[in-house]
Symmetry: D2
Subunit: 408 residues, 4 copies
């Protein structure tokens, strides 16, 4: 008898074994297949052309790392039953299934106040119905309701396999090789103490490097000015699309989006998932092009700016926003292009971005010295605790280049 | 004074310098930016999830290799003026600009009998008008009308930089590491004799490996059964879309595609380019989803099969097609699903694929022994000439799994 | 309880787990530690400076691949007991333990007619005594006396893990990236039929590439002219050293080498191993430098030529050796430097090298089509059987540059 | 006419072009060829088997990076004449030529109080004589006497090409991938202000990562306990060898080493270089084996411990050395093995190691914000200044395992 096993070729890790059974069925499911059409990094490909990789790859890759981690933890004498292992694999596999078009770029735009993690849970609930409650343990781990907390921590925590995968994968595809994280070494250093995931002492330098690499990826990739500006443009496009639908009764041309724009439809979780699951990057991008010659000058302007990569200018600063300056630009813009104040807000606006490299309040990376646990920010003598624990905020003003350049 | 230069981060080669001036303007042009939205390998990502890279990256990468090749050729004492170098860079940069949605997968489907190379030339002509004939030399090199033939051969030939880039890039992103080609070494071995590109004798093993790697990529990636079956499905979807438009008057919902479906519009080259340039992978994929619940059962079936990755089964064989068998399947299908014969042809069909790894008739890879030129198939004692020169053809029959499995 | 495991950091594969128990003890043994001081590729570092890697790394790496192969074979339903697995690991770990200074370069020079495989077996026999016959099964597998022949084939055969490792490792360290072999893929394609190792049909392109890569490595690295010439020089140095010891009674200064130069000592296997195990690259290289100012002009000349990398010139040809030409050089050399005919033979000489990329007579690479086994040379339509099966021989003439350049 | 250029295949960077002329002659010189026989990382291969790379590769690699840096600096509008470029290349090529056997491991052991940089200068002086003063400018840059200080800073400074190369190369060969430094990106960010090398603002994250990677390499590789213990053992072996020569009149068997052991010979710089240049790793290792059965029990013990990798145990601590404990071990050792107090000092001893990751006093890494220069420790908000500027010292006690284990 010869056992068959599905293998996926991953440019990052090489061959990845896909277990048969439920995992295989979940991957084959249209809900999961849809992740093939959602870019991991939204519009980042406008800056890093290689960054066209998808949530599909990331989800499979994270599952692969969970497998490695489970092997390491077991080899150190901790018991993980096959059911627990399978549930942890499922939890990580589906942790991002709630992402919508362009991942974070449009989060909260299509359906207000619905974070992708909540949506992931809704998807899991639907799948749990379909698969006769076979996902119950996975959902319990995902929600951190299972007593072996380290299983949840492998899925979502300061050192989860999600982060290890996306830092490495995003480095790989953007070509920002400095973001590469030694996932193999970190995983080898994992240990479990009192049901919590910790890192052995000799892994401390790897953790330092992980934190620095993560910080580097934030400023060099995730919060790159041009990426930011592209995603602001995109979210304003969607905002206008919704406005036109709701206030002017203009259909988008996409039936699933129209459905989600209706407040009345927001009560039926099942229908929301059904329609939401039909949306991905492709629909939004196609809508952009369909609107390039729209009679609404606002949406036409936003669409054309996006499609032809004529991005606005952005000014980032740690200072307070200079509202006088902002208003001056707004006035100029209104005058020059003959737009109303309300319309102008789609083109000239301000806001705040922030990032915290290591949120100390929430959760800790524990390093195991002998039998003592020490948080990384105390264990490391080089990393500045106060900085790592602090949230960095920046304010921005965004406006078309033609206006911004003239004034500043 | 500090000169500024644009740098692109490429996961394959690292940093790529983008020269300023015309090249930079061409890259910024919407016609070229559009290549960011066209996957290099069509639906190959259905098999190799990493293969989400685009024509944009490939075009930039090929230009990078041309730059390296020009340096090598110059260092060996051959004169290439800066104008010639620039024109060659432009020619390779734009060599694929005529590709449409999903690259080869839909070639000839949207506009019949218009190969992407012809379209690339049309694009170049339009750009030449826009840029005051600055592309004339590039076009002349592209068309092989320039006397320094090796410049054309760098762009299109048995050993052009196009192939060197795509083999390496496609290997990289699919994760099929065995397709990796030693582009750096091959380029170092380039030489020019009588205005023709040749390879120095000690490069012979690299060329052998290049040909074997290419062959491997063909069978393992480019002509992979599942890729093939996906692309057949996609082209049948488009065929039906066109049929519905032309015979039933049903608009697609995409104004650019509608325009190109009108025979009357096929006389104006400029308008064709204008509309064609608005189409990319995103439009087609979005149309697929919009048709998933169409009242036309044929297009709904094809769309749903594509979007949920329920691909047909294919049978490849070197034998003649067994038409009796084919008709038997057709009958079963018609009966089972209550489709007409004409409708059935969208689901059950046969055809031929072929590939020739090295088309000896057309052009040769010349190896330079001392002062003598020898074709690689003679120079190599290991590669089987007759095989490399021969076109391999396979016939296929394609049908939904439910039907195919039952019968065979 | 926390299990400890030794991990080795390998630049080629990443972390390699070293099992505890006997394997660990064997690696710690001075006989095995000695492999750290024997370069895998002899004098190849004279051409490829990166090629300073050792037999130690290769032996560990091969064992790692055997582990992967065992996992694959087991996962396909074939039984391999833990004892068999351990024995196979030991057999591959020790397969090269009989190599002497500079690996192949000095084979048969120090002890005549003792091939390294025979010596490996002697070493294993000694170790088997020391470890209370715990190596018996390993030795039986090594000698191909065990009924599960595929275990031996993993250690020594057309597709053994030895070759997979050295091709990849040598590519890695020489920087000849084209020699890279997709070991991961080939291992995934392994299968066992009637106790023999075979390859699944879809692995055929990988095997083709493996054979081409191997051929490329032969001509580009293993039989590189400069490497060859360096190793000929080295073997002539040793020949002279032995001559001086035996005919002139001049001690080498190295007690272990002196011992092995005595014919009387050649009867005691245990003493041979004891002394041979004390020799490695370091001793020979040090002797070269100690002889640079020797009173014997022959050995001084050879030593100085080696240490200062003033290598002779070599002429390779498929033609018969032109003895007239050879004698003319010899005459010139004798006259110019005032050497005797006998002394001249150390500087001017001829010989033959050969290589056969795939020795069809000996053993086959079987490809499994359905249930039928076909040899790769029949299964592949591109590889030229007669070439792969044929031994390529070349003749050479070697002489100092000063002489050779003048005449030719 | 076809220009020939020498190319070296480097596993780290790929092909490296070797310019003809003086550079080529220097590389061919026996003084430089000798670096092929000196390991870059001394005995580090005892822990990381891949670390068998040599000073030869590192010197060539550093020169390659200098070439890239010169291109970048020139492209930013700063003038570097071809003579200056050539001199800088020579300076970096020869910066390590003064290294002796096992690089740092035996520094100051063979010739007391002669640091390798001083010896490098002596070598350069000798070569300058041989090459008719063609190295004068290179020597001036090496000594930091040339007015364009940034040329010296490329060779020796906080961000010199030496460090960029060795961090990357050592990462590569040890397999400690986390030490990988983005040399390409850092070089792209170089700029010159007032003849000093600075880094552009957007390079700040890369510099942070460079400093962290360097720190990681220190603790994970350069100051690895087992490496340290091996090198202490080696230096004690040499110390005893010298003692036996000087106090007991026992020749080492190596004429060059004997020469250097004579105080009388220390006055003639030329003779020192002549003899020193004949020594490398091979001589020392061979001497170790020749002494394994020496009648002097001290040197026999040290040699056997080294060759069979039976390394002592080391205890590292930030605390003061516990001399009571140390003496207790010494007593036990003397008693157990019947050694004198003086002899015991070769086996049981204490000492101090230190490292400062970024010596702020000496020199700064200047980051260019607009037109303002800021030191990295101020520019970075995450790196802890006081830590980076501080020298970390650790004390150690070293003794044979048999003794150490018993007591502690």
């Amino acid at each position: 008898m010869i056992k068959k096993q599905k293998i996926i070729n991953d440019p990052v890790y090489g061959f990845i074994n896909i277990p048969g059974g439920l995992i295989f069925k979940l991957i084959e499911h249209p809900y999961f297949q849809r992740l093939r059409r959602i870019k991991q990094l939204g519009l980042t490909y406008l800056v890093y052309p290689g960054a066209a990789h998808t949530r599909f790859q990331h989800s499979i890759g994270s599952m692969h790392l969970v497998n490695l981690a489970i092997d390491v933890i077991r080899s150190k004498g901790h018991k993980i039953t096959e059911d627990e292992a399978e549930a942890t694999r499922i939890a990580i596999l589906l942790h991002d299934i709630g992402h919508g078009p362009f991942s974070h770029a449009l989060e909260n735009c299509i359906i207000p106040d619905l974070h992708h993690e909540k949506l992931s849970l809704w998807f899991m609930d639907e799948l749990n119905k379909e698969f006769n409650s076979e996902l119950s343990l996975a959902i319990s781990i995902f929600k951190n309701q299972y007593h072996k907390k380290f299983l949840h921590q492998l899925v979502a925590g300061q050192l989860d396999m999600d982060r290890l995968d996306y830092l490495r994968r995003d480095s790989f595809f953007t070509g920002v090789t400095e973001g590469v994280v030694g996932s193999q070494r970190i995983i080898k250093m994992l240990q479990v103490v009192d049901d919590n995931l910790v890192v052995e002492a000799k892994g401390i330098y790897s953790i330092e490097k992980f934190l620095i690499a993560r910080r580097l990826m934030y400023w060099q990739v995730y919060l790159h000015k041009t990426v930011l500006v592209g995603e602001l443009l995109l979210s304003h496009f969607l905002k206008r699309l919704k406005y036109l639908y709701k206030e002017k009764g203009i259909k988008t041309g996409n039936v699933y989006l129209d459905f989600l724009f209706e407040d009345n439809n927001m009560s039926d979780k099942e229908l929301i998932i059904k329609n939401f699951s039909m949306l991905d990057d492709y629909d939004i991008m196609s809508l952009i092009k369909q609107n390039i010659n729209s009679q609404d000058r606002v949406i036409a302007g936003l669409a054309s700016s996006l499609i032809n990569r004529k991005l606005p200018r952005i000014r980032l600063s740690k200072e307070e926003i200079d509202y006088d300056f902002l208003n001056k630009i707004k006035q100029q813009f209104m005058k020059k292009y003959n737009f109303s104040a309300e319309e102008t807000d789609y083109f000239v606006y301000s806001g705040e971005i922030s990032n915290n490299a290591y949120d100390r309040e929430d959760e800790r990376i524990n390093i195991l010295f002998g039998e003592k646990l020490v948080d990384i920010t105390e264990a490391s003598d080089i990393l500045n605790i106060s900085v790592l624990g602090k949230i960095v905020k920046k304010n921005y003003i965004c406006a078309p280049k033609s206006i911004m350049n003239k004034i500043s």
